[in-house]
Subunit: 709 residues, 2 copies
C-alpha cells in the first residue's frame, strides 16, 4: 500500500515540536488523506465563483462557513449555511455570509468562505484505534449513535489487520444486519469500510506514537464511506518495550524445566508439614526417575538423597531448582542458581508483590535476569509434568497421564484442577502454577506445549496477560494445531476489581479480551466448570470435518433441550436430506420423528440405538452426533453405553472419526454409563443436556478458528 | 378510569358490520382518543384563517396537506408542506398549497388543507398489544427504529397491566438508558409512556376482539408522548375459551390424587417385566400404607392383594386409578372409573397424541369430562408422592422425603430428575409426569403444591403451556410464598421446532415466555442442570432479607471468579463500610485484602475462616455470604466444612438466618466436604465458582419477585 508516510511524519514531528498531544482538525484531515482515508471534500473560496466551482466539484449539498481569525462565533455572525444546493444557492450564500460577517464586525479580516461537502444519509459508524495497556494497538468498529454509546455494540481487533480480518468486524457487532441493508435499505459498501479500518490499522502500526484515533462519525453509503470527523492523540510518554525471548530461547529453557534430568530442591526438609518436605516427598513418591538433589545447609540426607549446603555443591548439571525457602532468602539463592548455570527457578514461596512487596519482586526479577535464570512464580503451588512422573509441588502427586496441559494464575484454581482431574481421571500432561508471573508466563508455556508431543490441548486460567500481544501471536500459531482454552477471570467489572485487589494487575476491558482472544483462535471458557469440562472433553473428541450436527434421542424431551443447547453453542442442526430421512425412518417406529432431532422414541431396544448411531456415523454428510439416551428397562444404561462405545470403535477402526457426545437421562446407573462412554471416546454426562453440547461447541469453535471445519 | 367505551363499541361494530378486519386511520384515532391515548392534533382547514387558528392551537410546527378526492399524488401536486412554523408561514403555505393544487388540476374538488401537528424530536418508541396463542392479550414496548427491528429489543407483559407494571417495561429493554436521557438528553416522560401502555392494555382487555394494536411510532418527549400512527386489527374468528376449574375443585381432586387412601391399578400384572407389574411392585415396595387394588379380569390376586375384574367391583371408595393397559382399552376404562366415582386417572399408557392418535386422545378427554374424571397424562412414567410413600410409577421407588415438588412434561427428564435426586439425596415431596397434558397441567399441580405443607419449592419442566394465562395467574399467587422454578424447553427456534415434532405443541415466542414468566414471579432455569441445582438448593437456603452480598475467600483467584458469578447472576457485592472493613481486617493478615471480596489469603488456620464467617453472619448489614474455600494442610476440607456448618448452625440458633453458599477448590476431599455442607444448610459445590452463586441468584430472583427482599 503506497501511503504518504512522509507527510504524516512531518505533521507528527511538528505537533511534537509544538509540545501538543493532539492534532488539529486540518492536521487530522491531512493524515487521513496521506493514508487514503476518505474525508469530505473541502476548500476555501475567496470569491462566489470559486465557491460555486468548489461545490460543483464535490457534488451534492455543501456546508459553507465564514473563515476569519476575528470571528469566533460564526453562527452568531450569520456566517454559516448548511444544506446548500446548486450553483445559485451557493452564490447567494457566499454573498450573504460575507455581508453578514461584515455587518457583524466591520473590521474583521475575512479569509474567505470554507465550502465543505455535506455528508448525510448513509449509516453512521465509528472506526477507531486505541492503545490498550495489555494488547497495544487495537482497532475498533461499531455503529454510531446510541448503539455504541448505550449498548456498547463495538468490536475490537489487534492491529495490524488485513482486509479480511477488518471485514469480520462488520459482521461481528449485534446490529450487523443494519449494514447488510435492514428495513429495505441498500447495503453499505463493506469493502470501503473494511478498507478504512485497514488503513487506520496501518497508520497506527506505522506510527506507534499515535495513541488514539477516532473517525466519528464515518458515513457509510452503498457506494463508499467518508470520515466526517477525525481526532488523533499522540503518546505523551514512552511505553517500555516488554522483555521478549526468541522461541528457541524459550523452548530451550522450558524443555529443561518441564523435562528435567536433574532437580534441586532449595529448602528441602526432612520435617513433616514443611513445604520443603512435601515437595521432596512428592518428587520421590511421584516416581521421578531423574536426579533429586535436596539443598539444605543443616542436613546430610533427606528422604534417602544426599543433601547439599548450596546448589553450588551439587555435582553435575541441574535443570531446574524448586524453591521452598522463605521469601527473604529467595533473591540470594536465585543468584546462586544462576551461577550454577541452572536455567529455571520454580518459586513456591509467597511474600512478594501479592503481599505488597513489589520491590522485593523487582529485585528478584533483576537478579534473575542478570544471572540468566527464568522464574516460574513466585507464589505458586509448583508444577506437575506427568509424563516425566514429576510432581514438583507441595500438593499431592498426580499420575494420570494424558493430553491436556493446564496452567493457573491462582493456587486455588490449581487445586480445583487437581481435584477435578483426580475425580474424573482426566489425563494430564502438565499442571503449572503461574502465580505472580514475575517472568515466565502463558506464552512461554504455550510455546513449550506446542512442541510437546504429549500435549494435545492446553487450558489456562488467567486474570491478566503481562504482554497480550506476545500471547496472541503465540496463541495464533499454537491454535492452528492444538486447542487452547482460556478461563479469563475478572470478566465483569466487579470481577476485574477483585482481580485488582488480588494481584494488582490492571485488567483490560473485557470486551477487548473477548474479541482479541477469539481473533487468536482461543476458546474462551465462561467459568471454571466449563474450563474443566473442555479440558477433559476436547482431547477425547475427534475434530469435526463439517458443520452438520445430528441429534439422535430416545427421549423427545431431551431432544428439545439438546436443540436449545445446539443453538446456545453456535452449532447447526443438519437439514436431513430426504434419502437420509428415509434411511433413519427404516429403523424407528412410525410415530417416531425423523428430521433432526431424530426421535427414536422411548422403549426402543438396543438394536434401534445401534442402527441409528451406526447410520449417523457412516453417512458422510453427517459430521457430528449428539446422543440423547433415556433410561428404560429395554435398553439399560450400561447396555446403551457398551453398544455405543462398540459402534464408535468399529467406525473409528474403519477410519470414520466423528465427534460423538451423549446426554444420559435416567436413574443413577447413567453415571457409570457416562464414565464408560467417556473412557471410550464419547463425551458423556448424566442429568444434563447442556454440558456435552457445550464441549462439542468448544471443539467446533477451535476447529473453525484453525480452519479445519 | 373513565373511558369512552361507547364510541369504541360503535366503531368496532361498524367495522364488523362492514366485514372489515382492520380499522382505518381515522377510526384508529377515534379509538385512541376514547381511551385517552394522545395522538397528534389534526384538523381540516377550509381557509387560511382557519389553518392559522388550527396550527396555533397545536403549538409548534405543523404539516399541511391538500385534501382532495381528485389528487392522489399530493407531493407531486405541490400539495404538501412540512415543518411549517408560525402564523405567517401557515397562511402562506395554505395559499400556496391551494394554488399549486389548482395549477396541477384545474377541476379538482378541493375539500381544504389538513393541518397536523408535526411530531419530531423526542425519542421514537413502539407501544403495542397482541394476542398470543399461549398467553392471550399481551402488551409490548420497545424503542423504535433498528433497535426493535434488528435487535428485537422489546419487552412483553400479560395484560392487563397497572401503571407500575407498565413502568417496569421502560427499564426492561437493553437500551433503557436512552429513555433516562443518554448523551446529555433530557429524560422522556416515563409516566406518560407508562400511562399509554396501561391505556392500550385497558383497551384490549375491555375489547378482546381487538387482536392487534400498534402505536408506531410514539414520540416520547420530556413533557408527554404522542402516538403518531395507529394500526388496529380485529379478531376474525372466535377463540375458544379454555376449560377451567375453580381452585376448590382442583384442590379436591388433586388432594385425593396426591394423598390417596385407596389406589386402583388398572392392568395390574403378576408378570415381571410388564408395566402393570412394575407399578404394583413399586406401590407395595414403596411402603404405601393405603389400600392397593389390582384390577385384572384374569387374576385373583397380585402381589398378595385381591385382584378385581373391574374397578366397579372394588369395595369402598377409591381415590385414584393408575392405568397400565394398552391405549385402546383406556377410554372404556376411564368411563368405568368415572362411574365408580374415582376423581383421577393416572394414564401411563402411550399411543395417543404423541404417536399421531389425536382423535383417540380427544375421545379420551371427552369421555373423562363426561364422567367427571380428571386425567394425568397420558404417556407418562406415573408419579411419586413421597410423604405418602406413594410410588405409582414403572420406575424405581424413591423415598427421600423433602420439600421440593418436581414435574416434567417429558419422561426422559423425569428419569433425569429421579437419578439426580437419588445421587444427591435431594429431599422431594413429589415427582409427577405430565406427558401429553390432555387434562391436568401445571396450574392444577401448582394449586395443589401451594396448599401442600410438605412442599416448599416447586420445579417444573415444560415445553408448552396449555393455558398460559391460567398458569400465570396461579403462579403469581403461589410465588408469593413458594419459589417456582421453570425449565421451559424449546427456548430457541430450533428447540421449539423439536418441541413441535415431539408433542405437536405450538411453542410461543420465547421472549414472550421469558418476560411473562418473570412477571409471574417464576425463576426460569436456563437448562436441565440448573433446574436440578435450583431444586436441590432453594429449599436449603433461607430467604435473604436484603441485597448486600459478601464474598469471603481463602483463594484470591476464587474471589475474582466468584465476583464474575455475582454479576452474572444479578447480585450486588456490598460496599463494605469502613467500620466493618476494620472489623474484618482484625482477623486477616495485613496483606490480605478486605473490601469485597474479603481475601483472607491462603494458608490461614480454621480460626480465620471461623472468625470472618461469624462476623459476616452477625453483622446485620450483610444479607448473604459466598464462601470461597481453598484446600490447604492448615485448614483441610472437612475441617472447613465442619466449622462452617457449626458457625451457621449457631447463628441460626440465635435467629440469624442468612443464605450461605460455598465454592470449594481443592483435591477430591472437597467433594465430601461439599456434601457435608449441603446437608447442613450451606449450598456447596466442588470445582466450580459458578453453581453455588447461580443457586443464590435464583433464591434472590424469587425473593425479589415475592417482595421479600
Amino acid at each position: 500500500m503506497a501511503y504518504d508516510t512522509q507527510t504524516v511524519r512531518e505533521i507528527i514531528d511538528k505537533v511534537r515540536a509544538e509540545d501538543r498531544s493532539s492534532l488539529t482538525a486540518p492536521e487530522g484531515r491531512l493524515v487521513c488523506e496521506a493514508y487514503g482515508i476518505t474525508t469530505p471534500g473541502e476548500g476555501l473560496a475567496g470569491s462566489a465563483d470559486e465557491a460555486v466551482r468548489l461545490a460543483a466539484g464535490m457534488g451534492g449539498p455543501v456546508v459553507m462557513k465564514i473563515v476569519s481569525p476575528d470571528i469566533l462565533h460564526k453562527t452568531e455572525a450569520g456566517g454559516v449555511r448548511v444544506d446548500v444546493h446548486g450553483d445559485d444557492a451557493v452564490r447567494t450564500a457566499y454573498t450573504e455570509i460575507v455581508e453578514n460577517a461584515r455587518a457583524y464586525s466591520a473590521d474583521a479580516a475575512i479569509d474567505g468562505v470554507q465550502v465543505q461537502q455535506m455528508l448525510s444519509g448513509g449509516q453512521e459508524v465509528i472506526i477507531g484505534a486505541t492503545t490498550d495497556p495489555t494488547f497495544g494497538k487495537v482497532v475498533v468498529f461499531g455503529l454510531g449513535g446510541i448503539l455504541v454509546e448505550v449498548l456498547k455494540d463495538v468490536t475490537f481487533r489487534l492491529a495490524p489487520v488485513d482486509d479480511a480480518t477488518a471485514g469480520t468486524m462488520l459482521s461481528d457487532i449485534a446490529a450487523a444486519e443494519v449494514l447488510r441493508g435492514a428495513r429495505g435499505a441498500e447495503p453499505v459498501d463493506a469493502a470501503a469500510l473494511a478498507g478504512m479500518i485497514r488503513r487506520v490499522s496501518d497508520l497506527i502500526t506505522d506510527f506507534p506514537e499515535v495513541r488514539e484515533l477516532d473517525l466519528n462519525p464515518v458515513f457509510a453509503r452503498p457506494d463508499g464511506a467518508s470520515a466526517a470527523d477525525v481526532r488523533i492523540l499522540l503518546e505523551t510518554e514512552r511505553v517500555p518495550e516488554p522483555v521478549r525471548y526468541t522461541d528457541e530461547e524459550i523452548l530451550a529453557t522450558m524443555t529443561r524445566m518441564m523435562q528435567p534430568r536433574s532437580v534441586a530442591v532449595i529448602g528441602a526438609s526432612a520435617e513433616q508439614g514443611k513445604i520443603g518436605n512435601s515437595v521432596m516427598r512428592n518428587l520421590v513418591d511421584g516416581g521421578f526417575a531423574g536426579e533429586i538433589h535436596p539443598v539444605n545447609p543443616k542436613a546430610d540426607e533427606i528422604l534417602g538423597r544426599t543433601a547439599y549446603p548450596s546448589v553450588a555443591d551439587i555435582p553435575g548439571e541441574v535443570d531446574v531448582a524448586v524453591f521452598a525457602v522463605p521469601a527473604k532468602f529467595v533473591v540470594a539463592s536465585v543468584a546462586e542458581v544462576g551461577r550454577k548455570g541452572i536455567p529455571a527457578a520454580v518459586l513456591i514461596p509467597s511474600g512478594f508483590a501479592e503481599t505488597g512487596n513489589a520491590d522485593l519482586q523487582q529485585e528478584l526479577v533483576d537478579t534473575a535476569r542478570e544471572h540468566g535464570v527464568r522464574l516460574l512464580g513466585p507464589n505458586i503451588y509448583g508444577y506437575y509434568s506427568t509424563h516425566q512422573d514429576l510432581c514438583a509441588t507441595f500438593c499431592t502427586p498426580y499420575d494420570v497421564k494424558g493430553g491436556v496441559a493446564l496452567t493457573s494464575q491462582s493456587g486455588g484454581i490449581g487445586m480445583a484442577i487437581l481435584g477435578y482431574a483426580r475425580t474424573t481421571g482426566m489425563g494430564v500432561s502438565a499442571i503449572v502454577g503461574l502465580g505472580n508471573k514475575s517472568d515466565i508466563d502463558e506464552d512461554d508455556l504455550l510455546t513449550y506445549f506446542e512442541s510437546d508431543d504429549n500435549t494435545s490441548c492446553i487450558a489456562m486460567h488467567l486474570e491478566d496477560l503481562k504482554d497480550g500481544r506476545a500471547f496472541v501471536e503465540t496463541a495464533r500459531r499454537v491454535t492452528a494445531t492444538k486447542p487452547v482454552v482460556v478461563l479469563k477471570a475478572g470478566r465483569t467489572e466487579m470481577g476485574a476489581r477483585a482481580a485488582g485487589s488480588h494481584t494488582g494487575a490492571l485488567a483490560g476491558d473485557d470486551k477487548i479480551y473477548d474479541d482479541i482472544l477469539r481473533q487468536a483462535g482461543v476458546v474462551r471458557a465462561p467459568g471454571l466448570n466449563e474450563m474443566l469440562d473442555y479440558s477433559r472433553g476436547l482431547p477425547v473428541l475427534p475434530t469435526p470435518k463439517g458443520e452438520n450436527v445430528v441429534i439422535i434421542t430416545g427421549a423427545g424431551g431431551s431432544g428439545v433441550l439438546l436443540s436449545d443447547a445446539v443453538v446456545d453453542n453456535g452449532l447447526s442442526l443438519m437439514e436431513i436430506p430426504p434419502d437420509l430421512d428415509e434411511s433413519f425412518r427404516a429403523f424407528i417406529p412410525p410415530f417416531g420423528a425423523a428430521g433432526n432431532p431424530i426421535d427414536i422414541t422411548g422403549g426402543e431396544p438396543p438394536s434401534t440405538y445401534e442402527a441409528t448411531i451406526r447410520l449417523g456415523l457412516e453417512d458422510p454428510r453427517i459430521h457430528a452426533l449428539i446422543l440423547g439416551y433415556w433410561h428404560t428397562i429395554v435398553t439399560p444404561p450400561m447396555v446403551f453405553a457398551e453398544l455405543t462405545a462398540r459402534v464408535v470403535a468399529e467406525a473409528r477402526a474403519q477410519g470414520i472419526d466423528k465427534p460423538v457426545v451423549a446426554s444420559l437421562a435416567g436413574d443413577t446407573e447413567v453415571e457409570e454409563a457416562s464414565e464408560h462412554l467417556f473412557r471410550n471416546g464419547v463425551v458423556a454426562y448424566p442429568y444434563t443436556t447442556e454440558r456435552p453440547v457445550a464441549v462439542l461447541g468448544a471443539k467446533y469453535r477451535w476447529a473453525r478458528s484453525a480452519g479445519l471445519v
